[in-house]
C-alpha cells in the first residue's frame, strides 16, 4: 500500500483542536494553566514549528541515540577514565550532574503542562516529544554517574542535590520553579524553551561536549551530545509562541517573560559554567574563555533570535555584556572560599600559568580578583588555614539566591541593591535582579533566602556545622 508523504498529512493530523460542547473553553483550557493571553483557540492554531517530526520518526531516532550513548559507556567502563581524570574535570562532572539530572525530570513536568494545556495543537505535539526527551535526559544523567558512586561519594549528588537545601541548589530550584514549574503553558514555552534552552543550554551542551572530548572523557562527551540533539529540537517550541503573541498585540507581555528568564539563566550560568570554563578545565584543554564563549555563542545567537522574532534586546543588555567579564570570577572565588558548602571539590585554578591566562583573557584580573587570591595564597603558604575558610555567610540576592558580589581590589565596586517591600528589607545583587522581583513582587516576596532562613533560626546550631547539616553535606 502506498504511504502518503509526511507533508501530505502532517498538518491535518496535527490539527487536534475542536469546539467543546459540554464544557466551556476556559474549563477545557483553564487560563492559569494554559496562558492563552486572552487569545481564542483559533489564534493559537496558527502556531507552526519547523521540525514537524512524527512519532515513528521520533522513536526511531531516539532509539539510535540511546544505543549510541549507552554502547560507548559500556565499551569504556573498564577504561579507568574517571580514576585518571584531572580533579578539575571530576568537579565539572559533579557540578553538572548535581545541578542538571533531577532538573530534567522537573522539565518533563513542564513539557507535560504544554502538552496538555497549550491551546496550540502544534505545541502540544512537539512538547509530547519534548516531555519524553526530558525523561530520557533524567534517566541517562542518573544512570551514567551511578557507576562512579562507589568510587567517589560526591557522585551521589547527581541524585541527591535536588532534595537538599544546599545553597546553589536553592538558587537552581528558585530559578527553575520560577520559569517552568509555576507558569502557564505559553510562559513555559517562552521562559524555558526559548530563553533558557535556546539561549543557554543548547549552546552550553555543545561546548561541554567538546570540552569532554578534549579531556578524553568520551562517555560524557557522547552523553552530552546525545542530549544536545534533543535540546536543539524542543528548544524551538517557544519561538512560534512568541510569534503568535507578537502578531496578536502581546509583545510587551512576551518581552517581559524573555527578559526575566534570560537574566535568571545568566546568573545561574555565571556560577555553574563560568568557573568550569575559566578555572576547572585544565589549562591545556581550554579553547576559549567563558567571556569569549558567551560572546560568540550566546550573545550573538540571542541577538539574532530576538531580532528575527521582532522582539527588542532586553533593556539591561549593556549591563549583561559588562557583567560577562566580572560576575563569574566572583562566583568562583565565592564557591571556592565557601568550598565546604558545595558538593564538588572546586579547583582553584590560579597557578602562575593560569593567572597569566586569566590576565590575558581579562586584562586587570591581577589588580582586582588577583588581589583577593594573593591574600588567600599567603595564608595557605604560611599555614594559616583557619583564615582560608569562612566563618560567616555571604549575603545572597533575594532574586537569584546567589552571593551579592562585585569587583574587588583596585576597582572595588561591590554594591547592594536593596528594596523595602511590605515592611521587609530585600537585597539584590544587581539592578536587574531587583527589577525582576519588582515585575511581580507577590510571586517572590514569601521566599526565604539561605540568609533569611539562618536569621529566622531555621539553621541550628548557628555556625558552619549547623549550616552544613542544613544543606545535607555530611563531613567527608
Amino acid at each position: 500500500m502506498a504511504v502518503l508523504n509526511r507533508m501530505d498529512w502532517y498538518d491535518l493530523a496535527r490539527s487536534t483542536n475542536w469546539t467543546p460542547n459540554y464544557v466551556t473553553e476556559d474549563e477545557l483550557f483553564p487560563p492559569d494553566l494554559s496562558g492563552g493571553f486572552g487569545l481564542p483557540q483559533e489564534a493559537w492554531e496558527n502556531y507552526d514549528e519547523p521540525y514537524k517530526q512524527t512519532y515513528p520518526e521520533y522513536v526511531k531516532v531516539q532509539r539510535e541515540k540511546d544505543a549510541g550513548a549507552y554502547s560507548v559507556k559500556a565499551a569504556l567502563e573498564r577504561s579507568r577514565i574517571f580514576e585518571n581524570a584531572d580533579p578539575g574535570w571530576k568537579s565539572v562532572m559533579k557540578a553538572h550532574y548535581g545541578a542538571i539530572a533531577r532538573g530534567e525530570y522537573a522539565a518533563a513536568s513542564a513539557e507535560a503542562r504544554m502538552m496538555r494545556f497549550s491551546k496550540a495543537p502544534g505545541m502540544r505535539n512537539m512538547s509530547t516529544l519534548g516531555c519524553m526527551d526530558e525523561i530520557r535526559h533524567g534517566q541517562m544523567q542518573l544512570y551514567f554517574p551511578h557507576e562512579h558512586v562507589s568510587k567517589d561519594r560526591q557522585m551521589d549528588w547527581a541524585f541527591k542535590a535536588y532534595d537538599t537545601n544546599e545553597w546553589a541548589m536553592i538558587a537552581a530550584r528558585h530559578f527553575f520553579d520560577d520559569i517552568m514549574m509555576t507558569r502557564d503553558a505559553i510562559s513555559v514555552s517562552i521562559m524555558l524553551t526559548f530563553s533558557f534552552e535556546t539561549g543557554f543550554t543548547n549552546m552550553q551542551f555543545l561546548g561541554l561536549a567538546a570540552d569532554a572530548a578534549e579531556a578524553g572523557d568520551h562517555t560524557f562527551a557522547n552523553l552530552i551530545s546525545s542530549i544536545q540533539t534533543d535540546e536543539s529540537r524542543h528548544a524551538q517550541i517557544g519561538g512560534p509562541a512568541l510569534k503568535v503573541l507578537i502578531e496578536n498585540g502581546k509583545k510587551e507581555e512576551a518581552q517581559k517573560r524573555v527578559d526575566v528568564a534570560l537574566w535568571g539563566a545568566w546568573k545561574l550560568f555565571s556560577v555553574l559554567t563560568g568557573p568550569i570554563m575559566d578555572y576547572y578545565t585544565p589549562l591545556e584543554h581550554r579553547k576559549q574563555s567563558f567571556k569569549e564563549f558567551m560572546e560568540e555563542w550566546i550573545v550573538a545567537q540571542f541577538e539574532r533570535a530576538l531580532t528575527d522574532m521582532g522582539l527588542d534586546l532586553p533593556w539591561y543588555w549593556d549591563i549583561f555584556l559588562e557583567d560577562l567579564k566580572d560576575t563569574h570570577h566572583g562566583m568562583h572565588l565565592g564557591s571556592y572560599y565557601w568550598r565546604p558548602t558545595v558538593w564538588w571539590n572546586p579547583a582553584a585554578g590560579i597557578t602562575p600559568e593560569e593567572r597569566d591566562w586569566l590576565e590575558e583573557k581579562y586584562p586587570g584580573w591581577n589588580d582586582t580578583w588577583g588581589q583577593c587570591w594573593d591574600v588567600f595564597i599567603d595564608n595557605v603558604v604560611d599555614g594559616k588555614m583557619e583564615l582560608a575558610y569562612p566563618e560567616t555567610l555571604p549575603m545572597v540576592c533575594n532574586m537569584c539566591q546567589l552571593p551579592i558580589l562585585g569587583v574587588p581590589g583596585k576597582k572595588w565596586n561591590v554594591k547592594d541593591y536593596p528594596l523595602e517591600y511590605n515592611g521587609r528589607l530585600y537585597h539584590f545583587g544587581s539592578e536587574v535582579d531587583r527589577w525582576c522581583f519588582e515585575q511581580d513582587p507577590e510571586r517572590y516576596a514569601g521566599h526565604l533566602s539561605i540568609v533569611d532562613r539562618f536569621l529566622a533560626g531555621m539553621i541550628q546550631p548557628m555556625n558552619l556545622e549547623g549550616a552544613l547539616k542544613y544543606m545535607n553535606i555530611a563531613p567527608g
Binding site: G330, L333, V375, T392, M395, P403, P408, D416, L425
Partner: protein, 87 residues
Amino acid sequence: MALFPLGSNFEGDFVLQLIAIDTENTMDEVAAAAAIHSVNRRVRPRPDCIMRVRKQGATEFFPRDMKVADSGLMPTETIEIIWEKTT
C-alpha cells in the same frame, strides 16, 4: 542590648557578608567585627588607616563612637567599611 544583623561591604573585598553585632556596639566595634571576615582573608591590612563605617551610598561616616541603636540602621541593612588614612 540585642543581636543585630548587618550586611558588611568591606572596601577591597568582593562580596557582602553577614555580620552579627550588638545594638550597643560602637561603629569602631562594628568595623572591627566586619574586618574579621575580610581583613587577612581576602583584603590586606592597612596599618596607615583606620576603618570607618557609613550607610551604603552615604558620603558621611557615622561618628566612631555612635552606637548601632542610635544609627537608624535597619536589620540586615548594608554598611560600607572604608579605609581612612590616619595622617
